[in-house]
Amino acid sequence: MKKLLWSLSVGAAIVGGASDAVLAQSAGKSITIANYGGAWAETLNRICIDPFTKETGVTVTQAATEDSLAQIRVQQTTRNILWDIAPTERSGLPVSSKNGWLEPIDWSVVDPENKLPPVARKQYAIGAIAYSTTIGVRTDKLPEGKTFGGWKDFWDVKSFPGPRTLRNSPAENLEFALIADGVKPSEVYDVLRSPEGVDRAFKKLDEIKPAITVWWTSGQQPVQLLASGEVFYATAFNGRIQQLQKDKLPVKIIWNGGSLDVSYYSIVKGARNVADAQKFMKYCWNTPSRLAEIARAMPYSSFNPEIYKILSTDEAKELPTSPANLDVQFALDSEYWAENLPRIQKRWEAWRLQ
């Protein structure tokens, strides 16, 4: 009975996804991929999904999600599994792995030649692509003759005056604050894990707080803020800033001290079609030709080094995993945040209201 109540109560929220899955299921073999919508979904359709269906006859349906972790939890608790593949980035992967909500990846299928580095080869997930949270700078608002170098300058409101925006989340911002405070990008998590690390980060954040006009919440927001001149300096996903550059706006990306975030995809425990889900992962997220095409369509790149043999130097320098950019960034430690987010989130809310 409890199970029934559960299904009914959450059913309303996910009814859209459910009907999609049911439709696809009735027509031969199929897999359902939960995914973020928008341009990324369209790119996947064009480069991976349509050819995959043509070659294998397996129908692939994308179900839009913004909060995959909460939905994975709901599906596991109700044992009503609607998805085969789901995004598990940030704390999604550690939390889902710990709770036993995922199927292990069969690496003999997905990466038989062992091309992916460990960061993309997790027991329960493939690191499909990486994106970076970087600083976007309005070059026309920069003081004459000065070059903006990174987090130290973001914090330096005297030399670089003007409104700024950061994401409304402690994750990444504590890291950025530490880098501004002189910590090397490669050592931020050592400092954060030390007893005074979090205090030190919040103390540094105190300094920049008056210059933050708005704390952004959705990925499009900082870009729109930069475009409208509402802020001069913003953290934003690299691909979004590059979109602005394509629109001929005077905006520059600062890779220095950026946060490299891996977009993980996992197979959900109890998925209906695990075998085809593994095949799709190999087909889409570990085939250099397709990965290169994805990187050309959107500036998000795989960890598979083969793609840099296909892409030109010019194309490569705009990508988060290109060797030059990889060196100056740090990789977001999702284990750290899975463990500490609930505690630090509360402190963050309190700090923001002070």
């Binding site: 109560s9 909060d67 909460a70 708005v214 509402e230 509360k346 309190a350």
Partner: protein, 298 residues
């Protein structure tokens, strides 16, 4: 209105409209079933989560939600903001509703349409509109700088004021409609009678129209207040660095920290606070609201 002053001495009209015969209760069944499954059961489940601790029943989530700290501050801020927004909606909407109720039917339809049109546009789009208007390089600032009224751009966006403006704009049609529907039931012959008996138009309004329409104003206040409590997108998009609504906090707990116990407790506190405020207002003004809907026929 055409049949003079209908004033039934025994109040039979009102009694009939108040009590539906028991045999027609089944008409409620579809709504009741829907309400049971999409409201009562889920909210019941959420209530259960909110009292579940690591080991059995526990008030820990409520302690976290209501104890001194950011959650209580945000909750109180949400209540305060909703209170003010609802008040502003009534204040701004009342004259508009009055005007609507007094104009000729053909004009009225057109005006109603104009008031309803914004409701068809998504809240997100309407909120983005304010970003264009109030931004640093937005319409108002460009104009002010253009005419030399100010030297640099004023910070209008990302302030509490911007949240007020945007939320009032979104909720205003609702407030107008509620007050308008009460005002149309008011028997205008009473006003005419007051004029015949020598009252000024203003006095007639204060002594007849205002008391008869106050119930509608209070209902409009309560409805907009409850709607404002759940606002989410607007404060996040145009609010300042400190503008967080309780709904944003609940979303963080559900999707980000996965602390569903705390999220549920915050949700329950919001529901209960909403009921408490609305209940208190209804009780406080029960004499006023009793008048409404009868249009002075009693």
């Amino acid at each position: 209105m055409s049949d003079g002053i209908p004033m039934p001495r025994d109040g039979t009209v009102a009694t009939r409209s108040k009590r539906a015969p028991l045999s027609s209760l089944w008409l409620l069944a579809p709504a009741a079933v829907l309400f049971l499954f999409v409201f009562i059961l889920p909210v019941g489940e959420v209530a259960l989560w909110s009292v579940q601790g690591e080991a059995g029943l526990s008030a820990e989530h409520y302690e976290a939600a209501l104890g001194a700290g950011p959650y209580r501050t945000i909750l109180l801020g949400t209540l305060q903001l909703s209170f003010g927004v609802a008040f502003a909606c009534v204040l701004v909407g009342y004259p508009a509703a009055y005007f609507l109720a007094s104009c000729r039917p053909r004009n009225r339809t057109l005006l109603l349409l104009l008031i309803l049109t914004p409701l068809w546009v998504s809240v997100l789009v309407r909120t983005f509109g304010w970003i264009v208007v109030l931004g640093r390089e937005g319409l108002v600032n460009s104009m002010l700088i253009g005419i030399g009224a100010v030297d640099g751009p004023l910070q209008m966006l990302y302030t509490r004021g911007a949240v007020y403006i945007a939320m009032v704009q979104v909720l205003l049609p609702v407030a107008i409609l509620v007050m308008f529907s009460t005002m149309t039931t008011i028997n205008r012959s009473l006003l005419m009678a007051s004029r015949i008996l020598g009252a000024t138009p203003w006095r007639g309004f204060v002594h007849i129209f205002l008391p008869l329409s106050a119930g509608g104003a209070i209902n409009a206040w309560m409805l907009t207040f409850v709607l404002a409590l759940g606002f989410f997108i607007t404060p996040a998009l145009v609010g300042g660095p400190k503008e967080t609504m309780i709904a944003n906090l609940i979303a963080t707990q559900i999707t980000l920290t996965l602390d569903w116990g705390l999220g549920s407790a915050l949700g329950m506190v919001l529901v209960i606070a909403g009921f408490a405020v609305v209940g208190a207002i209804a009780l406080l003004f029960r004499r006023v609201t009793r008048l409404s809907g009868h249009g002075g026929s009693r």
